[in-house]
């Protein structure tokens, strides 16, 4: 079986899944199993396809499909394969998650979900594989946009979801107009030219056309990825409206297709367009846009009380990191210093690495948000707390995911941020822009930490309503957890096998022809399985080893444990001390709206003030808080 036929098989099973949903409308149980089975099948096929391309002896797949008078060029090179891999992994988790999640939420109507979801995935896969800005792109884009519009639209009651979905649709259509329109700026462009051809034709166009071309594409894909301020306009609303497992795909992948588009434009089309592309200008644009996005997005995330919105804002911030890294890679490549030039590819790898990482842990976090929604029915952090004792597994997974996204030592977020920031500083030694933006990125890392301390702390630890929740709230079904454990394992592997992933990305770049940085310079990244080093030939510039860090902490933790238990102290369970008059009740919990209040006020100018959290009218929603002052 060739890869190509596998590709068609993938589409076939997707369409079949969609078709089955139409037939099995009423037979919900059959529909769930059949839909899940077919979707899983298509994901597995996709994984096989990507692995056979990335694997030993693999090569890019390029083919054309004729639809009427249009030629649709397809290209599955290393980069596409990498993102397809991410797509299939996330989809797999999301589909398994849905299996039980939908049962609780939508009753008989979830056939619509199984009708649209395959099309959405198809759209995403299409976007990652088409190689033009014309008919193929349009087809894939519209498939993705309309299907995701419907998914968002059906995520919550019409009253709440109509507006976000519409806004989403409008922005996506505007982006589509810009992207498809941009290609007409290239001299002699024919609707349906492949990307490489567009680049070559652009090289013959005037300088202003080139600038306009890249601007339109930057805006188009920028809207998609959520660059400031576009992201703020649609992302939070859309992500908090769709079902969590859909949001997990939206944040984990839909944004990444935007990143993918940016990479295709600024690192592939740019190369073929030659002198028409100004790396200095576009590097600066990307860096500035990225830094602003990452800072504003993350600061706004801190202000949110709706944990799904918090995750949405935070994914704007995280994508900002990727855009920043792409820009700084361009700048480094353009630099006159040989070291910086060769660091460019390291920074690029960091950007791709962070895309993969973010895809996984943000997908995981949205699924965990789904757990919370499933178990408690509320999306308001103010009303949560103390869930660790009733949902221990979810809590543990949330701890790992939050830990990873905060980039704490020995986590996947740390590896990619380390790669990004250290190489950025090394490359930008003499560049004020790079150094200062690197500092902002570091500064924002602290905000990310604050954000997830809040998410994890207020949902799972803290006092919250734990005594109240204990009565009715249980751990979610194992299928939900299984999908999350699957993602957690991948997340951990990203943390502890950095070199493996770097090699994978390296290989995928090697399999992608027409890569801008392919002859940037020597290979600075080295390292064994568990460690990464940046070495310039003479001296070690930077090094990290997550596993060693973990080992160090655990070893010292044992020391600390021995020290603290050396006198064999007794341990007693006591209630929290509230100065002796009040007992812990719903009113004296320091809830989410209070946490970091001064910091929120201090950064009022970043906007994104939280809206009142509206919980859907759902039987699982907690009864309203008790009469004030009631002490239990």
């Amino acid at each position: 079986m060739t890869i190509l036929s596998g590709f068609w098989l993938f589409w076939l099973s997707l369409l079949l899944a969609s078709f089955l949903a139409l037939i099995l409308k009423k037979k919900t149980n059959y529909l769930r199993s059949a839909g899940t089975l077919l979707l899983c099948l298509s994901c597995l096929i996709l994984i096989l396809i990507s692995l056979s391309i990335l694997g030993k002896g693999g090569s890019p797949l390029e083919f054309e499909v004729k639809v009427g008078s249009f030629h649709l060029p397809f290209l599955i090179d290393g980069l596409s394969a990498l993102f397809l891999l991410l797509l299939s992994v996330l989809t797999l988790a999301s589909v398994i998650f849905s299996l039980d999640f939908v049962k609780k939420y939508k009753g008989d109507e979830f056939w619509k979900y199984y009708l649209i979801l395959p099309l959405f995935i198809g759209g995403l896969a299409g976007l990652l594989t088409v190689d033009d800005l014309g008919p193929g792109f349009t087809l894939a884009w519209q498939l993705m946009v309309i299907s995701s519009y419907l998914l968002i639209r059906w995520g919550r009651p019409t009253k709440v979801s109509a507006r976000p979905a519409l806004v989403y649709l409008l922005f996506m259509e505007a982006a589509w107009l810009m992207i498809t329109g941009s290609a007409f700026l290239a001299k002699g462009y024919i609707f349906g030219d492949s990307l490489g051809t567009v680049g070559l034709k652009l090289a013959q166009s005037g300088p202003w056309q080139a600038i306009l071309f890249f601007s339109l594409l930057f805006l188009g894909f920028g809207i998609k990825t959520g660059v400031f301020p576009f992201g703020q306009w649609w992302i939070p609303d859309a992500y908090s409206t769709a079902w969590p497992q859909v949001s997990s795909l939206l944040a984990g992948l839909l944004e990444k297709t935007g990143v993918f588009g940016l990479i295709r434009i600024f690192f592939f089309v740019a190369k073929s367009s030659g002198a028409a592309f100004n790396p200095d200008l576009w590097g600066k644009v990307l860096v500035v846009a990225g830094v602003i996005t990452l800072f504003i997005g993350t600061v706004q995330a801190i202000k949110q009380s709706d944990y799904l919105r918090l995750l949405a804002y935070s994914s704007i911030g995280q994508v900002g990191y990727i855009i920043f890294a792409l820009g700084s890679s361009l700048l480094a490549w353009n630099s006159s210093l040989p070291l910086a030039k060769s660091l460019a590819s390291v920074i690029f790898i960091a950007a791709v690495y962070h895309s993969l990482n973010h895809g996984i842990f943000k997908g995981l976090l949205f699924l965990l948000g789904g757990n919370l929604l499933y178990a408690t029915g509320t999306r308001d952090l103010n009303r949560l707390g103390g869930l660790l004792s009733v949902m221990p597994v979810s809590g543990f997974l949330a701890a790992i995911a939050s830990y990873s996204i905060s980039g704490m030592p020995a986590s996947s977020g740390f590896v990619s941020k380390w790669l990004m920031i250290s190489s950025n500083f090394l490359a930008g030694r003499d560049s004020l822009l790079l150094t200062l933006s690197g500092i902002v990125a570091l500064f924002t890392a602290a905000f990310t930490l604050a954000c997830y301390v809040k998410f994890f702390g207020l949902a799972f630890t803290s006092a919250g309503a734990s005594w109240k929740l204990k009565r009715s709230i249980k751990e979610v079904p194992w299928k939900l957890l299984a999908s999350e454990i699957f993602l957690t394992v991948i997340c951990l592997s990203q943390a502890f096998l950095p070199m493996g992933y770097v090699k994978l990305i390296d290989r995928s770049l090697g399999l992608s022809s027409g890569f801008l940085l392919s002859e940037a310079g020597g290979d600075l990244l080295s390292g064994k399985m568990f460690s990464l080093k940046i070495h310039d030939g003479q001296s070690l510039l930077a090094a990290t080893s997550p596993l060693l860090m973990l080992f160090l902490i655990v070893l010292l933790a044992f020391l600390a444990y021995w020290f603290s238990r050396s006198a064999h102290p007794a341990e007693t369970k006591v209630p929290a001390w509230l100065c002796g008059y009040q007992d812990l009740n719903l009113n004296n919990v320091y809830a989410d709206r209070h946490v970091f209040s001064d910091l929120k006020k201090f950064f009022w100018w970043t906007g994104g003030s939280p809206k009142k959290v509206i919980d859907d009218n759902d039987p699982t929603v907690l009864p309203d808080s008790q009469p004030k002052g009631e002490v239990e």
Binding site: L442, A543, L552, P569, L599
Partner: protein, 299 residues
């Protein structure tokens, strides 16, 4: 030798840190016309706490694990540092980001533990501590990045020694910033806002007792000593002799001097409010940013 250096780091900090608290208490007492406790009192306090009952109000693993992880990640940070400018075995797989994140992790664990205790006072304290971390961690990072920018190497020993390589405008500006931030790093007045015992009763530490509290106190002592050490070895590295023992001795003396400074400032200031402190930290951030900018330009 390079392996031994790790242990030297740990032992040096573990032994000296409580003593420095003793120095601080004695000096503060002198400013307040009091006798003050003997210098070895902090050691006795730690021993006493080890034997006390461990009260657990959180009832979850996050609360129990927090002090242990906080202590161990602080120690992990200390294990990395190039004491007297000499890199140890861990330098091959760590750099300044590792250090910064270990330090952050230590504070992060405390916060998770504080939130895990379920106490609103601890939550207020945790919220304040986090705001402080958010605003101050970049200042620390910028100090080390200053060294990186000078030397062009991301490793910790380069970052530490790089700060004082040339003593131009950026050096002095950064020194000023660091001195202004010192009290906040050391969590002493006027910046002991997160602990503020009169309003939020030691904030994050509130629910901890016995050995768990001993670990957190020890962590605090180590943290203070670390920041004092950083001041000495970043800004005064050029006066340290080459001989390891002499250098260590001089460093110790200088660290004590830094603690004298901390005590003097601490004893002559009331506590700031968090909103006032945030403005102050923002000023520090901007100054530090300017210092790094100057360093990039080669000044």
């Amino acid at each position: 030798m390079k392996v031994v250096a790790v242990f030297v780091n740990l032992i040096y900090f573990l032994l000296l840190a409580p003593f420095l608290e003793g120095v601080m208490r004695k000096l503060t007492a002198w400013i307040q016309s009091r006798k003050g406790p003997p210098l070895y009192q902090p050691y006795l306090d730690l021993l006493k706490l080890l034997g006390k009952e461990n009260l657990n109000s959180g009832g979850n693993w996050a609360f129990r694990l927090a002090p242990i992880l906080s202590f161990s990640s602080m120690l992990a940070a200390i294990a990395l540092i190039p004491l007297t400018g000499q890199a140890n075995i861990l330098a091959h797989s760590s750099d300044l980001m590792t250090l910064i994140y270990f330090l952050t992790l230590s504070g992060f664990c405390l916060l998770v533990g504080a939130l895990g205790s379920g106490n609103p006072f601890a939550a207020v304290g945790a919220s304040r501590e986090m705001m402080t971390t958010v605003m101050l961690e970049p200042v620390l990072a910028m100090l080390l990045i200053l060294g990186t920018v000078r030397i062009g190497n991301f490793s910790l020993s380069a970052a530490v020694s790089g700060v004082a390589v040339s003593r131009g405008g950026s050096y002095f500006l950064m020194l000023v910033v660091y001195l202004l931030a010192l009290q906040a790093f050391a969590a002493r007045q006027p910046f002991d806002i997160a602990e503020a015992e009169v309003e939020i009763l030691e904030g994050p530490y509130m629910e901890y007792s016995g050995p768990n509290y001993a670990l957190l106190r020890y962590t605090l002592n180590l943290k203070r000593m670390f920041y004092a050490w950083l001041l000495v070895s970043c800004f005064l590295s050029f006066i340290l002799p080459a001989n390891f023992l002499f250098s260590l001795l001089l460093q110790t003396v200088l660290i004590i001097v830094v603690f004298v400074l901390i005590s003097l400032i601490g004893a002559t200031h009331p506590r700031f409010r968090i909103d006032q402190a945030l403005k102050y930290y923002a000023l520090l951030l901007i100054l530090a940013l300017i210092a790094v900018g100057l360093a990039v330009k080669g000044w």
